[in-house]
Amino acid sequence: MRRARLRLSGLLWRRPWLKALGLLTPPLAAFLLVYLGSLAVLFISSFWTVNSFTTAIEHHWTLANYRLIFSTAQPYLHIAALTLEIAAAVTLTDAILAFPLAFFMARVAGRRTRAALFVMTLLPLWSSYLVRVYAWQTILAHDGAINWALNGIGLPDQNVAYTNVAMWIVFSYLWLPFMVLPVYAALERIPDSYLEASADLGARSYRTVRSVILPLALPGVVAGSIFTFSLTLGDYITPRLVGGPSSQFIGNVVYSYIGLDANIPFAAAFASVPLLIMGVYLLIARRLGAFEAL
């Protein structure tokens, strides 16, 4: 037994590629088979149709699903645009909110304050997603905390509950930690000497932020935006819970077509749209250097 082990370790030492192969095969196989494989199946099935009487899938190739999605007489482009708009708004909001916080954590706060801020940023992630969304439902409701506070200082009610604005607020809250962390990592990596050099060259703090810190932090912001953007793009629960009568996301349509309608080919076709959007987004993000900041 011991000799066999020795022989194996000797072999692995003599042939380092064998070691690499052994280490990489399981995760690579899982990635290729489970992840890319299911994506491929999804994509292929989007070119099929369904028999709307028996709900059986009919395997002849057609572009009908895509034609329906890209037809302007249909609501699907509009729904995709709404999803995209909210995802962009959430990303922008989170970037604006996260930058000062991350800057303070990385460059100003002492060790204990930093630790406390870290815990506070991550704390919401310890509770269930649903709990947080339902909490917002109560906060925004007609008799919720916001209206209570507004009325307390003599202001009229807000009517944000069940609107697209409510979705924007809730998504921005949900995904903020995913923006704070990469921005923090990027800011922390900026050497102090750069800032000193900037000051030595006569730059005021505004100029230093604009010309030194922001460009160096940008990859972090873009990395964070990948999270906030893609998480919003794929969500369907928040629109159901806090959205209004016109708050359908791509995910909601996919969900309803998979259910009683059993039109999996169409759902697959529509699900390819966010995939396409994310593909383009990742290409841009790579150009901006986001992957070095992850």
């Binding site: 369904v50 709307s52 009487f53 028996t54 709900t55 059986a56 249909q74 609501p75 699907y76 509009h78 729904i79 439902q137 109560t138 409701a141 007609h142 008799d143 919720g144 009517n159 509950a161 069940y162 159901r240 819970l241 959205g243 209004g244 009568p245 016109s246 359908q248 349509v253 969900y255 309803s256 077509y257 998979i258 259910g259 009683l260 309608d261 059993a262 039109n263």
Partner: protein
């Protein structure tokens, strides 16, 4: 496992021979269709997809004790979820599920997808006492073949906050009128199109709507237009019954379409709400359907027989807030809750039931037109996405 199946096969063969020998007229049971003619010994287990509380322990515990069939529950939140579960893993319940408590918007879908199989209705003793409307309703019986047994039903109701909505509403026009703009809610479900169609059947006879579930393209378009005009009046579409409850509770919503279940929940929470059932209305009727690959068919038959007995029907009706299909449940209901038999309309004449249009899956075949040009569920789903998108 194999032994059971062998015995089962043998049983089926024997029964088929018996059926052939006596040449039973093909009324409900078609000769040679392989339907069991008696319920065998229980398999010890029963796996169901159900609306929450449809196998409530308050009445299911007794069944488990008597039959030895231990119930495993999978609660579903929507008809979509039920259908998806039944249709997964090769369909027919995937060899995992025995029964599903399908509502009328899903039941035909399950039948035509071959996810459920015919049952011998004569093995359900209470069936012959059922109200006529629920013996062979079009949502669970096709060409005289029963694909399950009706269990309970309820009307779609108009719920309103008595403090805010004055005077009280009198008809369905209330949810299409701008008077309470921004304070209304209706279900997020394509079957809601039938409500609009039924309303148009009354208010716009020129459209020629005969059945709110069998709409031609023009009729579907008209119903969708009505719903598109309704959308700006709504606070939200509700997905789950609890969503609607929450919106009534916190004052976001004053009036909406719902079920007696929500009214009961809200009244129990001391929210000042009442409901009316403006006739005609749509309604739902649920059916216990037998999965095509049910692994425990005997326990399933035992459950269908048990749950339709008057006492159990009464109990389930009170627990869930719905109406039995077995009128013999009436005295038991009154015993459990005074006046509940009349309260849930179990004592109404047949003419009352004709005014409730029960959910059924829209299919292309129009019974009233004897043609194939009605809009099917896929068209309804597309129209609904268009309305809510």
């Amino acid at each position: 496992m194999r032994r059971i199946r062998k015995r089962h096969l043998l049983g089926v063969a024997v029964f088929a021979a018996v059926v052939a020998a006596f040449a039973v007229p093909a009324a409900a049971v078609q000769a040679g269709s392989g339907l069991p003619t008696k319920i065998g010994k229980g398999e010890g287990k029963l796996v169901v997809i159900e609306w929450p509380a449809y196998t409530d322990p308050s009445f299911a515990n007794k069944f488990e004790k008597e039959t030895g069939c231990h119930i495993v529950r999978h609660d579903a939140g929507s008809s979509s979820e039920m259908f998806a579960l039944m249709n997964a893993n090769g369909g027919g319940g995937g060899g995992q599920y025995d029964l599903v408590s399908a509502s009328g918007d899903a039941s035909l879908r399950l039948i035509y997808a071959h996810d459920v199989k015919p049952i011998n209705i004569n093995l359900i003793p209470s069936w012959k006492h059922f109200l006529p409307a629920f013996k062979s309703p079009p949502h669970n019986t096709v060409n005289g073949v029963h694909y399950g047994v009706s269990v309970q039903w309820g009307p779609n109701t108009l719920i309103y906050n008595t403090k805010k909505v004055k005077p009280a509403p009198t008809g369905w026009s209330a949810i299409y009128s701008p008077k309470y703009k921004g304070k209304l809610t209706v279900p997020n479900n394509p079957i809601q199109i039938a409500d609009a169609a039924l309303y148009l059947e009354q208010t716009k006879p020129s459209l020629g709507i005969k059945d709110p579930y069998e709409l031609t393209r023009a009729q579907l378009t008209a119903a969708a237009e009505l719903l598109s005009r309704q959308k700006p009046l709504l606070k939200r579409y509700w997905n789950y019954a609890t969503d609607e409850d929450a919106s009534f509770k916190n004052g976001d919503v004053w009036m909406g379409a719902g079920w007696p279940y929500q009214t009961l929940q809200l009244q129990a929470a001391k929210v000042p709400v009442k409901e009316i059932v403006p006739l005609p209305t749509t309604g739902w009727a649920d059916t216990w359907m037998l999965a095509a690959k049910a692994p425990h068919p005997n326990c399933a038959y035992k459950w269908m027989a048990y749950v339709t007995t008057p006492k159990v029907e009464a109990k389930q009706a009170i627990v869930f807030g719905e109406t039995p299909v077995n009128p013999l449940a009436c005295p038991y209901m009154n015993k459990l809750q005074k006046g509940s038999c009349a309260g849930y309309h179990l004592n109404e004449p047949a003419s009352y039931y004709n005014k409730i249009k029960f959910w059924k899956t829209p299919i292309a075949q129009c019974g009233w037109q004897k043609a194939n040009d009605c809009m099917d569920y896929n068209a309804w789903q597309q129209a609904w996405t268009q309305i809510t998108g």
